[in-house]
Point group: C2
Chain length 336, copies 2
DNA sequence: CTGAAAGCGCTTACAG
DNA sequence: CTGAAAGCGCTTACAG
């Protein structure tokens, strides 16, 4: 467990100066091919590892990106974080990631820790509430940061916002449900008063209004458990409701489970469309129709946007909306 | 976007030397309370952020832990990684995390990157194959590292191994299935030749052998899709099979879906038990019986083990097995 | 309790 | 193409 070799050790071994070793490390063209090879061999021989922290002290580019996520156990966010991380990795960056579990205090803490670790940029899917503490710290530290999936800080010039086109998605889904069968269509899940809920609901409300149909909104946690309970409750209390558009796939999958439990046949007796298109949708029975947000592609895109910002100074637009697509499978019936 | 304040700026502002500021940063008791307060105020006023990379250069404790996971999109690993990360965070460490997608080359790359970033320790749920490249690099860098969930490198003295007690779990599950009904019980899912598959299968095989029953093993990818297909295929080709113990919950959930599709009633016509107890099990219909590995608790425990190793020098035992527990819900029927 | 000085491993002009 | 020197922001003895 002795001291790790440094460029000085490499230099000594290779018989050159440490500047030369540094130049080799940076692939500088001004080092002769022969010397370069000599140095590389010396590195391999003595087991040299580049020390980025030390380099960072001079250049202030750690190659570290912070990723803070409000709910990392939710498959939607897992998929986002994973795709993003892998895209960063492919471009030579490492990701420091933290889950905040929707806790503003925890979020402020991890954001602070990441700043201390010298992240070059921050990508944050923020909690609702207490956002000031986190974003003010980021602003003070003058670190490029994007807010994704949820827009909680209005300073989008400082903290550009990106998310899928939720409104468009809910409009399509509602129109589809209006076409495929009779009965009222409900909107299920999503916590009241939140932006994302408002957006995913607004396409629904607008479409129903245009069609002259009365809406029925059942807000609540975006969980399987809530979906399941609601499916059962809806059958009892609102037998006239023949379809539901869900806040997300988790709720929809929960409704599938609830309908199975009470023997209500999904796709005919009752029609459901989810939101997000997590992997499970295609494997459920019946296969779940949903609004595909291509969250993996979204993650990759955000990685690119942030790295371009960092490397080329291309400041992202204040608001980016990525297109969504209705995927019709079996849970929503088929147009008559 | 000017230069970030340093301890020198703080010192000047507070009218003390930079050593004093450093001492305050470390909560050294040798600084007078009054001075301490003065310094803290100065820090707040000029927006100072601690620079860990710089500190690390002297002390070689970055407060960074590397977490590399073979399949981060799998809810089992997501839960593990998230719990672990949050436990680290609670003790003041940040986690650099990377998904390797079962790719040995990618794994070697991210391990190298983490070493460069100066992680103080590594926790790795490794890919199968090509392990030498990764673990040799870790050994050369002399970084404490644990292999979890999969034991691929035999040097467990160097890289202690920890995992739930898979063998015991599969034994319990098999006994349970033998008690709750008639028909053969199959083992479904898990790639052939892998340690985890072998372990999760061995309790099954041993129990059947003791009971004098013929085993039926259907290996394959540990996915919902495979479970679904297998449920359908089993009903056609092996109508005598009345129960299945699955490699993991994903397979079991897939089987639930397949049974629903062909109208086979799970819990009576056919009995299923999963493995892991991911969150979804309790929300499925019927609710899935499974072997609980308490992966969240496992993650927290590993975090503790590694940090104790780092901070107190407590070297972990070469192999740690954590207890598992059979959770009986509705999918496995009930003992007659 | 506080200051001055050296050093952690690198990069970056600047000479040669 | 290569060397000597300064400096990144901190910590750590060592004096005072």
């Amino acid at each position: 467990m002795e001291r790790r070799p440094t460029i000085i050790d490499v230099a000594r071994k290779a018989g050159v100066s440490k500047s030369t070793v540094s130049l080799v490390l940076q692939n500088s063209p001004q080092v002769r091919e022969e010397t370069r090879k000599l140095v590389r061999e010396a590195m391999a021989e003595i087991g040299y590892f580049y020390n980025r922290s030390a380099a960072n002290l001079r250049t202030a580019n750690a190659g570290l990106i912070g990723l803070v996520i409000n709910d990392l156990r939710n498959p939607f966010f897992t998929e986002f974080a994973t795709s993003l991380q892998m895209a960063l990795s492919a471009r030579g960056y490492a990701a420091v990631v933290a889950n905040t579990d929707e806790d503003p205090a925890l979020q402020a803490q991890v954001v602070g820790a990441m700043i201390e670790h010298g992240v070059s940029a921050l990508i944050i899917s923020p909690t609702y509430g207490g956002e000031a503490a986190s974003f003010d710290a980021i602003a003070r530290a003058a670190i490029p940061a994007m807010q994704v999936l949820r827009n909680v800080d209005p300073r989008v010039d400082l903290f550009p916002f990106a998310a899928p086109d939720y409104v468009g998605g809910s409009r399509c889904a509602t129109e589809h449900l209006l076409e495929t069968g009779p009965g009222r269509v409900a909107f299920v899940g999503g916590l009241e008063g939140r932006d994302v809920t408002r957006e995913r609901m607004s396409g629904y409300c607008a479409t129903l209004k245009a069609a002259g149909v009365e809406p029925l909104v059942v807000t609540g946690r975006a969980s399987r458990a809530f979906g399941r309970e609601t499916a059962i409750r809806l059958a009892e209390e609102h037998p006239d409701v023949g379809a539901a558009i869900c806040f997300n796939d988790l709720v929809a999958l929960g409704m599938l489970s609830g309908c199975a439990q009470i023997g209500r046949k999904v796709g005919s007796d009752f029609r459901i469309v989810g939101f997000d298109d997590i992997e499970e949708c295609a494997q459920a029975y019946p296969r779940l129709s949903t609004v595909r947000c291509d969250i993996a592609g979204f993650g990759v895109r955000i990685a690119g946007t942030v790295l371009d910002w960092l490397e080329e100074g291309t400041v992202p637009a204040p608001e980016l909306r990525t297109p969504v697509e209705l995927v019709i499978r079996d849970s929503s019936g088929h147009p008559a």
